[in-house]
Amino acid sequence: MMASTIIPACKHMLSQNLSGWTVLAQRLSFIRSISSARNKELPVITKIKPEEREGVAPHAIGYKKIKAKFLLQGVDLNKYTHVPIPYPKTGGRSWSGRVFNKRIGGGHKQRYRMVDFTRNPISETEPLVEKVLEVRYDPLRSADIALVCKDNHKRWIIAGSTMKKGDIIKSCGEIPTLPVMAKEGDAHPVGALPIGSVVYNIEKFERHGGVVARAGGCSGSILKKIGDNVIIKMPSNQEISISKYCMATVGRVSNIEKQPIGSAQRHRWFGVRPASGLYQKKSGYHGRKIKAPKKLITYELHTKTKISDMFDS
């Protein structure tokens, strides 16, 4: 009885060389084609070795992670634009829909302006000269940002404390024997600047973009020069030694006198939800723990294949 019921259903398939497999295969191909189409457009950002640096835009060399927010929109962060991009809110949810942070949610609508942290010169002798067109507030960071332009290329950079509209800023690549008399807002290699000078937007690796001292009102300072390395004090009072070719901008980051948040309701406008649970205030009876100062960190590019080759024989 069951055989007779199944056969007529299969007859139609068999007559057209179709079976359940084909239907399944078609569906699979549909899914695969969607995923392949997405995979083609994905901007693949990896940690780039210095040998493979040529094809990549200079602003994108320092990128380490993919931002899932921009993947959905099809925005390629490797292509630079100064036009603001819509910045969707996560609500504390991950890709799969699970909550990863309870304190994120709501807030004012924001837009992302791509900030270029590099200040590379054209060559060692020829500096890059740019003009400041605009200084404005950025919703996604505590520092202000400045729109600078050279020829037909506009880009956003982090604004210095004294930067204003109409200024002309330079980024030089030369390291003379005597240290330079630097102007505020100009970028120089760390080796070219005098000891004790105040700097911000400091690179850890050369031509990788500034990483240290980018928040509002922050600054680092140059302490010593030992050989080809320069020792710098970060805003966290920790010391690092970097190559003398690493670029840094002279001065402090803008927005020194930050506006206090003031109320719990204003905190909600920035997309922060209230903390639940009782906070137990520490009495201070047992005193403060005294810790040893942290060790010096050295940053170096892995130019050689073996680690043993990097040390002197």
């Binding site: 079976s19 497999w21 191909s29 549909f30 084609s33 332009c149 050279k150």
Partner: protein, 421 residues
């Protein structure tokens, strides 16, 4: 009470059957051996099965090695026979220039003057309508309150009291009231046709004319595209305002230096199929009334500097097409300069531009320059209601004051230029 019946009390085997089939699978039950089969086997005859010959089984399906592309996603690219060969700098109403009027002067190679030229300044307050001020106040009342459109207005933000939530307002949108004002200003100035019949006899008003032109600026092509609101054409062109001495002195004028920024920084880089040169009315309308004289344009909510800069570019575009239709392509210095007046109107402000095209040579910044006069007047002031100060916290109608009669008299002087003494 449920009535007990045989149907209710029957045992259900459907689920058990399903589960049994799932466990054991579906298979044919062979027929039990019959007597005739046993006799045939004993006799030793070969018995062939006729079923595959009568009803042969279908061939086995083999899945393809490579899957075909899905037509819903992997569709072929559209075939376009034209080629986008040329790459140009595009300028339209969405783009605003960073340096404002000075940058527009650099792109069009013009010398800038503040205030109207003396020939037109002489006509201001010389000619006027009967009861002119009352008529224009009526126009403003018509545009602001008397018109009966009742549309949803955008939510108001007051910087004196940020964060205050206003009640929703319904009324006349800004664009609508500007349209009413501009139409009435033109109508009132056309009423001079009785005294000076040449105004009505030879002039013609064209609605919504567009321009698409391009020109070569220092080895780069710049394309100008715009949609104006009205244009006044005539059988004859306007007489130039700047004399020969002014044109000769413009050699010494120095244009803006934008180092290290390029003057084409704000324009959009695009590829196009073909070069367009539309805007001269000789080819479009095919009437003798083909010389453009006055352009009217409604601004779209930007600053005065940005509006004037863009309007200079559009008048320049019209002047270029006019010069090409008169003298042909590739002219240096023009024999008779082309003059075009632009009047662009905002919510409570009228801006005036008088442009005179002297050269078509834009290879470098040296030599003779074009001339342009800029001026603007505030018509009135609007004081919207401050809702938080009202006693009953209800919104009241806005107050209009500071009426400036000079705004329309300048409008009239520019309209009547070259037709009255």
């Amino acid at each position: 009470m449920v009535r007990l019946s045989s149907i209710l009390c029957r045992s259900r085997f459907a689920r058990q059957q399903k589960q049994a089939f799932q466990r054991k699978g579906v298979y044919y039950v062979r027929n039990s051996p019959s007597l005739s089969q046993g006799i045939l086997q004993e006799s030793g005859a070969n018995v062939a099965d006729p079923r595959p010959e009568i009803n042969p089984p279908p061939p086995e399906w083999i899945p393809p090695a490579e899957m075909l592309d899905d037509f819903r996603i992997n569709f072929p690219p559209p075939q376009d026979h034209r080629k986008k060969d040329k790459s140009i700098w595009h300028l339209s109403s969405r783009i605003s220039l960073t340096e404002g009027i000075d940058q527009a002067c650099l792109l069009t190679k013009t010398q800038r003057f503040n205030g109207l030229p003396p020939q037109i300044e002489r006509l201001v307050d010389k000619y006027s309508l009967t009861n002119q001020d009352e008529k224009i106040k009526d126009v403003i009342r018509h545009a602001m309150t008397w018109n009966n459109t009742n549309k949803k207005l955008p939510r108001r933000i007051d910087f004196e009291r940020p964060g205050y939530v206003f009640t929703r307002e319904y009324g006349i949108p800004n664009y609508k009231s500007i349209c009413i004002m501009l139409e009435n200003y033109i109508r009132l100035s056309q009423s001079f046709g009785g005294a000076y019949p040449e105004l009505t006899a030879s002039r013609r008003l064209v609605c919504k004319p567009s321009i698409e032109t391009s020109y070569e600026y220092q080895n780069e092509t710049i394309e100008i595209r715009a949609l104006n609101d009205y244009i006044v054409n005539d059988r004859r062109p306007l007489n130039p305002l700047g004399n020969d001495q002014m044109i000769a002195e413009s050699v010494n004028h120095e244009l803006l230096d934008m180092y290290p920024v390029s003057p084409t920084v704000d324009l959009l880089r695009t590829d196009i199929y073909e070069d367009l040169n539309r805007g001269a009315f000789k080819e479009m309308l095919r009437i003798p009334c083909s010389h453009p004289q006055i352009v009217f344009r409604i601004n779209s909510g930007r600053g005065r500097e940005a509006n004037q800069a863009f309007n200079l570019m559009t008048t320049f575009g019209i002047a270029i097409t006019e010069a090409r239709s008169r003298y042909g392509i590739g002219m240096g210095k023009l024999e008779v300069p082309v003059t075009i007046i632009n009047m662009n109107i905002s919510f409570n402000r009228i801006n005036y531009i008088v442009f005179q095209l002297n050269t078509m040579d834009f290879d470098n910044d040296e030599g003779i320059k074009n001339l342009a006069w800029f001026d603007s007047e505030l018509m009135f002031r609007k004081h919207p209601c401050k809702q938080w100060l009202e006693a009953d916290n209800k919104i009241k109608p806005a107050v209009y004051n500071d009426y400036n009669k000079k705004a329309f008299s300048k409008f009239l002087a520019l309209y009547l230029y070259d037709y009255v003494n």
